[in-house]
């Protein structure tokens, strides 16, 4: 069954992005919200942790932090809260890496 892995902490502060990446399997999605959105920035050293994974990022949290969408790593999807809800529905379960 597929899992939506939600992460909300910066990859430079906590290990939760790395753990989510370690647990994400084929068919899963990693959703970055709150301070985790920084993990999706291409030029940041942490973006490598997510390479090869299906990654979405919450647009309102990106904008709040001044991260322009053209700074994101290739293939990262930007979603709004409606898209967040759709991801929860599309996957079979949800794991929040708090």
């Amino acid at each position: 069954m597929s899992i939506l892995h939600i992460v909300n902490k910066s990859p430079y502060e906590k290990n939760s992005v790395a753990m989510a990446a370690g647990y994400a399997k084929e068919g899963d999605t990693v959703l970055l919200i709150e301070d985790a959105v920084y993990a999706a920035v291409k030029a940041g050293s942490a973006s490598a942790k997510l390479s090869g994974l299906d990654v979405s990022v919450l647009g309102s949290d990106l904008a709040a932090r001044g991260v322009a969408e053209d700074k994101l790593a290739d293939g990262v999807n930007v979603v709004d809260y409606a898209g967040f809800v759709d991801l929860v529905e599309a996957k079979d379960s949800v794991q929040s890496w708090l």
Partner: protein, 130 residues
């Protein structure tokens, strides 16, 4: 889809309650059913009517109360977590000999079983925290 939402942190200190609120609102707008919002750990602090946030900021507590009124949302505060942190309704005040209450409109205090029931009865459990 039927959802239970869990909120583990109080207002303002962490964004968790904001994220949970916006998610809940978006789910309702899409026609999904929110079976319950369960406030656990410091999340119980979302349920105090005594906050007075700055006028140019959002009012986290009132927003939940209003969403509850509008959509008949079940906002449940965990009783054990509330006792540790001082969130009190009339029943708790009487039981524990407290001289005041602080619970906000739309919230109710109940047991942890309500979280388990939420998970069992819902299609998804989505947890917001620190």
């Amino acid at each position: 889809m039927k959802l239970t939402i869990q909120v583990n942190e109080g207002p303002y200190q962490h964004q968790a309650s904001d994220s949970a609120y916006h998610f809940t609102k978006a789910a309702l707008e899409k026609g999904h059913e929110i079976f319950r919002v369960f406030f656990y750990h410091d999340g119980v602090n979302n349920g105090t009517r005594l906050t007075t946030p700055p006028q140019d900021d959002r009012n986290v507590v009132n927003r939940w109360s209003e969403l509850s009124k509008e959509h008949d949302l079940d906002l449940v505060i965990c009783v054990a977590a509330a006792q540790r942190r001082g969130i009190v309704d009339d029943g708790e005040a009487e039981r524990n000999g407290k001289d005041a209450t602080n619970i906000a409109d739309g919230f109710r205090i109940s047991g942890l079983g309500q979280l388990i029931e939420g998970a069992v009865q819902s299609d998804r459990l989505v947890v917001f925290g620190d």
